[in-house]
Symmetry: C3
Subunit: 274 residues, 3 copies
C-alpha cells in the first residue's frame, strides 16, 4: 500500500473541475457548515430529507452522505431508501454515525443502516468507529475520546471487516484510515478543532465530495481528512490571537483556498501494509 501525494493533489483539481452534486441527509446543527465546506472544496451540496424525494435526489447526485446527528424517526426511512438507490446506481455512500453508542436509538439505527446499505466510507470519531467495529464503548454524547489501548485492537477488527470493501476512518488527534489492504495514519489537524462544532461532519462532506468526483474511496477518505486537517492547522495559525469563532470562519477559507502545493507540502501521512 502506497499513497502518491501527487495523485492526491490531482484529485483536488478533479473535484473542482467536476463539481459533483453531493446529497446530504444530515443533522440541523452543522448542516450549514457542511454545505459551505462542500462548496468551498468545489463540489455542489444538496440537502433533501423527505422520503417523498430523497431517493429521487440521490439518483441525480454523485455521492450521498448519511449523517446520524439529530437523528429522527422521520428521516430514517429516507436514509434507507436513499442508500438503497445509491447502492443500486453505484453512487458512493459515506456514513457518519454521529453519537452511535450514546443511545439505543442511535445504535439500533446504525446497525440497521449497516445491514441494509453498503457504505463506501464510514467516518466517525474514535469511540464511534470502535462502536461500529463491535467494541463495547460507552459513548459520552457525541464528542468523545477513545481508550488508546483498545484502539489498536479496533484497527485490526476493522481490517477484518473491510473485506466488504468499506473504508473505516476514525478522526481525532491522529486520524486512522483503514482499508482491507492496509491503513494510513494522518497527523494533520489541530486540537482547537475539537472546540468547533461540525469539524467531523464537514470532514465527512469533504470525503463524499472526493468520492463524488470519482476518486476511489480509500484515497477520497485520505484526501478529505487531509484537506480538513491542513485547513484546521492553517486556520488555527491565522486566528490563534482571535479565537475559535474566527477559526471556524477561517476553516472554510482554507478549505476553499487549498492548493495542491499546500496539500503536498503539509500532509503528514504514514501508510502501513496489512
Amino acid at each position: 500500500m502506497r499513497i502518491d501525494i501527487a495523485t492526491l493533489s490531482a484529485h483536488l483539481e478533479k473535484v473542482r473541475t467536476l463539481a459533483p452534486l453531493v446529497h446530504h441527509i444530515t443533522n440541523y446543527v452543522t448542516v450549514n457548515d457542511c454545505a459551505n465546506a462542500t462548496l468551498a472544496i468545489g463540489a455542489s451540496p444538496v440537502m433533501a430529507d423527505d422520503l417523498a424525494e430523497a431517493p429521487e435526489m440521490t439518483r441525480i447526485a454523485s455521492a450521498l452522505v448519511i449523517n446520524m446527528g439529530t437523528l429522527n424517526a422521520r428521516t430514517i426511512g429516507s436514509m434507507l431508501a436513499s442508500g438503497s438507490v445509491a447502492n443500486a446506481c453505484d453512487i458512493p455512500v459515506v456514513f457518519d454515525p454521529v453519537g452511535v453508542g450514546a443511545t439505543a436509538f442511535r445504535s439500533d439505527t446504525a446497525a440497521r443502516l449497516l445491514r441494509e446499505i453498503r457504505f463506501s466510507v464510514i467516518r466517525g470519531n474514535a469511540s464511534e468507529i470502535m462502536h461500529i467495529a463491535g467494541m463495547d464503548v460507552r459513548a459520552k454524547g457525541v464528542d468523545t475520546g477513545c481508550v488508546q489501548a483498545d484502539f489498536e485492537k479496533t484497527i485490526s477488527m476493522l481490517q477484518c471487516r473491510t473485506s466488504s470493501g468499506t473504508i473505516y476512518a476514525a478522526t481525532g488527534a491522529t486520524d486512522v484510515v483503514v482499508a482491507d489492504c492496509g491503513a494510513a495514519l494522518i497527523e494533520n489537524g489541530h486540537p482547537a478543532m475539537a472546540r468547533i462544532t461540525g469539524t467531523g461532519c464537514m470532514c465527512t462532506s469533504l470525503i463524499a465530495s472526493f468520492c463524488g468526483a470519482g476518486v476511489p474511496p480509500f484515497e477520497a477518505t485520505v484526501c478529505g481528512i487531509a484537506v480538513m486537517g491542513i485547513a484546521g492547522e492553517l486556520a488555527y495559525e491565522r486566528t490563534a490571537k482571535e479565537g475559535v469563532g474566527s477559526m471556524r470562519v477561517r476553516l472554510i477559507d482554507e478549505i476553499g483556498n487549498m492548493s495542491p502545493e499546500t496539500l503536498e507540502r503539509r500532509l503528514k501521512i504514514t501508510c502501513e501494509k496489512r
Copy 2:
C-alpha cells in the same frame, strides 16, 4: 417603466424605521443566515413552521417568506395555511422555489403552492424561474445555470404571467426582475457569491423585508436584489485575500452597513419597458 434610485434608497430607511416582522417557513440549511440578513437590513425575523401556529404567526407579520429548501411533508400544510392567511390579510408573500424541477415532490409542491397562494414575488435562480415559467428545465440539484438562449423566451413568458401581478426575479450573473409593465436588469454581485450557501435565500428574505415595510413588490424586489448584490461586491473586495468563509461573514456586515449613498453609487440597473 422607470426606477428612481433616490426612491430605492428611501425604502432602505423605511425598513430600518418600521422594522417589519418577516415570518419565514424555510429550510434548516440557510435559516440562520436568513435570520441574520433580515436583522442586518433592519427587519425582524421570525421562524415558525408548525401548522398549529404558522398561520397565527403570519397574521401578526408584515411579510411571509415561503422557501422550499429541505421541503418536507410536515410543513407543506403550514405553507398553504399561512399563505392563505397572508392572502386574506393582504400580507405580501415571497416565494423561493428552491430546487423546483429537481424532483417531482418539489415540482408538484410548487405547482400546488402556485395554484393556492397569490405571491407578490417569486425569486429563484434562472433554472428555477424557467421551470416556474413552464419551461422544461432539467435542474441539477438546487444550484444550476441556465441556457441563455431560452432565457429571453422565459422573460416573455413571465411577462404574460405577470398579469396576475406577481413579480418574477431570476438571480444569477445578471439579475432579471420581471413585472407586467416591464423588466429591470441588475448587474451587481460577484461570482464568488455562488460559492456561499444561502445567498439566494438571503436575497429572498431581503425582498420580503422591503415588502414588509410597505414597499411595492417590484421596487421591493429590486431593492432586495440590489442590496444583496452590492453587499456581495463589497464583501468580496474586502475578503478576497481571505476566502469564502470570511466573505460570508462580511456579507452580513455589508447588508447591515448598506447606506442610501452606497446603494445609489453602486447600483447598476437598466429598465426596459414591455
Copy 3:
C-alpha cells in the same frame, strides 16, 4: 444576598475543567450558535430531539436546555419526557420560552411545560418573562421590548413565584435575575447584540453549561448572562468598524477567551435583597 465575584470567576474554571455535557432540545435557527457557544465556554453540547432517544440522552447529560424556538408537535413530547427524566435524576433544566405570547400554541405549550417540569432557570427577553409571570403581554414575534412601568411589577410577581426555587432571568438592556431571596441587575452587553440572531439562545446555553458544572442556579444564571454580556461588549468594541456579521463571529471568540480577570474587571452587577 451577595454575589462574590471571585466565586463567579471560579465557576468559569469549573465549567472548563468538568466540560459538562449539555443536552439541547432546541430550534433549528440558532442551534449551531448554541453548540459553538457551549463549546466555547468549555462545555460539551449534544442535540437530540426524537422521543425515542431524547430522554436517554438526558440521563447521561449534566444539564438540559428546552428552547421553544421553531416549536413543533414532534418535539413537545420529547421535551416533556426529557424534562421528566431530568427532574427524576436531579439534572438541572433551563427553559427558554422563545416567542411565548406570540401564538396560542407557544403559550399553551409553555404553560404545559411549566406545569409538568420543574425548571432550575427560565431565561427570556422581558416580554417573554412577563408573559411567564402571568402578565398580559402582547408579544411581537420573538424579539420584543417591554413596558418598563410593568416591569417592576413583574419582578415582584416573579419573586412570589420563585418560592418554587426557579430562577427567572429577563435579558435586555438591563438583565434582571430574580431569586426568592433577592435579585441581581446586570448592566453588561451592547445594543448591537439585538441585531444578531441567537444571542438570547446562546445565553441560555451558557447558563445551562454553568448549571451542568454544578454551579447553583442563581449563580449559574448570573455567570451565563455576565459572560454573554461581556463577550458582547468586547465583540462590539473589536468589530464596530466591520459590522454585525463580524461581531457575531467575535462573540464566540470572546466567550472562548473569557478569563476570570476579564469577568471580574468588567462585570457590572448590583444585588438587591428581597
